[in-house]
Symmetry: C2
Subunit: 227 residues, 2 copies
């Protein structure tokens, strides 16, 4: 479903070359639940952004559902991204001029749903993260954890096949975190593919498989419960 | 040192009154290490913003070092805030058009230091959070955890008497988190007053005292190690 072939992402900073991703090869199969872990700055979000079609590798190939993503034109790319992927961003990326409800409805427009259906699905998604009383709020009228939950609702509202979650519980108290992880595990049971970035080991071990990054390359790729 | 007398913060949202802070009274003494905990949306950042002189209560008084903060004029307020307080923001609040180094130097301007001294202190603070190789980066060229560490370096560079930390390790891996908490504990040993918001119980128990909030009011205020 998702494959990296020797993917690298480099940034030239003056006379230093920063290797945010360094020759990464891996495969994720449909229905898998993979945790990506590693130190701050090790390349996790860089990989996630490439998987989510928000960034392009400097070299190597990213294959999504058999298609070489680098060879797709803008429209084909937008089509795939909006239909297959739900992205929970590390920094939430809410649109400041839209209400909470409108923010969640935005990705649903690509699914060809009627206005009434988009509204209904968005309301259900926000209810799932206990924000039913904040539908008309603007993002800057929310606490940090509430903003994170809007980002979660937005990613899940369209029921996408692949869910990319970049530290989805970083701003949440432990009870709310458990609820969100429970949601992701239920979606996994229903056949969704989950790629989860976390720096919390207690969360990483709930995945089936762990990919550990260090300085942009893979230092471990195997079962989550191995020693 | 810090006292709330019946502090409330209300927002009128249509015909609902949201009580972000609800009649909170508490005192924090010099040299204490207090953790503020509670669910997402329970009012932690609201209280922190009032303590940090970034927001004003709707009612009640905030007393800082014997001064009623609400009665101070703008200049007196800026003076107190910049000399006494170091604030690590939940959303980092880095200035996007300044480099990492410049971001950390900004608060030091109020301390009356020479340009050379500001530069030296900023470099030391960034070294403390292992970002010496990112001094000339712009904030949008950093990972989430690196941005959080810049926010930490900026708060600590001027060696302020009171450190306000709003979820300072939310984006950090466990090793980096431990380093940051170790820093805060060392500062506490040196006599600094630390107010730390965290939703991580394992971090809260390292404080001396815990204030637990729910729906804007205090439901527990006592020793961290009580049952
Ligand atoms: N400008 C505003 N207008 C309306 N409501 C607001 C505003 N700012 C905050 N609130 C509300 O006040 C409540 C408390 O917010 P606060 O940011 O203090 O929570 P918190 O405890 O820091 O949460 P988190 O752990 O999610 O960061 C929330 O319900 C929030 O929606
Ligand atoms: N636009 C850019 N220009 C230069 N360097 C960059 C840029 N974007 C990212 N980097 C660097 O690439 C490295 C990896 O960044 P990435 O965001 O993938 O880390 P991460 O593992 O997600 O970290 P965190 O856990 O802190 O979120 C970091 O050292 C970062 O500074
Ligand atoms: Mg990241
Ligand atoms: Mg908060």
């Amino acid at each position: 479903l998702i494959a990296f072939n020797n993917v690298s992402k480099h940034y030239q900073m003056g006379d230093t070359l920063v290797k945010a991703a360094d020759d990464i090869s891996m495969e994720i199969n449909p229905g898998e639940f993979v945790a990506i872990v590693g130190r701050s700055g090790s390349g996790k979000s860089t990989c996630m952004n490439i998987i989510g079609c928000l960034d392009v590798p400097t070299s190597g190939e990213y294959i999504l559902k058999g298609e070489n993503v680098g060879a797709l034109n803008k429209n084909e790319l937008a089509e795939i991204r909006n239909k297959m992927l739900g992205f929970i961003f590390q920094q939430y990326n809410l649109l400041p001029k839209l209400t909470v409800l409108e923010n969640v409805e935005v990705p649903l427009m690509y699914a060809g749903l009627s206005k009434a259906d988009r509204r209904k699905k968005a309301i259900e998604a926000l209810d799932m993260v206990q924000l039913s009383d904040k539908l008309t709020n603007m993002p800057n009228q929310l606490s940090g954890g509430q903003q994170q939950r809007v980002s979660i609702a937005r990613a899940l509202a369209g029921d996408p096949a692949i869910i990319l979650a970049d530290e989805p519980t970083g701003a949440l108290d432990s009870k709310t975190s458990r609820d969100v992880l429970g949601l992701l595990q239920e979606l996994h049971k229903d056949g969704h593919t989950i790629v989860l970035i976390t720096h919390d080991n207690s969360i990483a071990v709930t995945a089936e498989r762990i990919i550990r990054l260090e300085d942009g390359y893979v230092i471990y790729d195997g079962p989550a419960d191995a020693p």
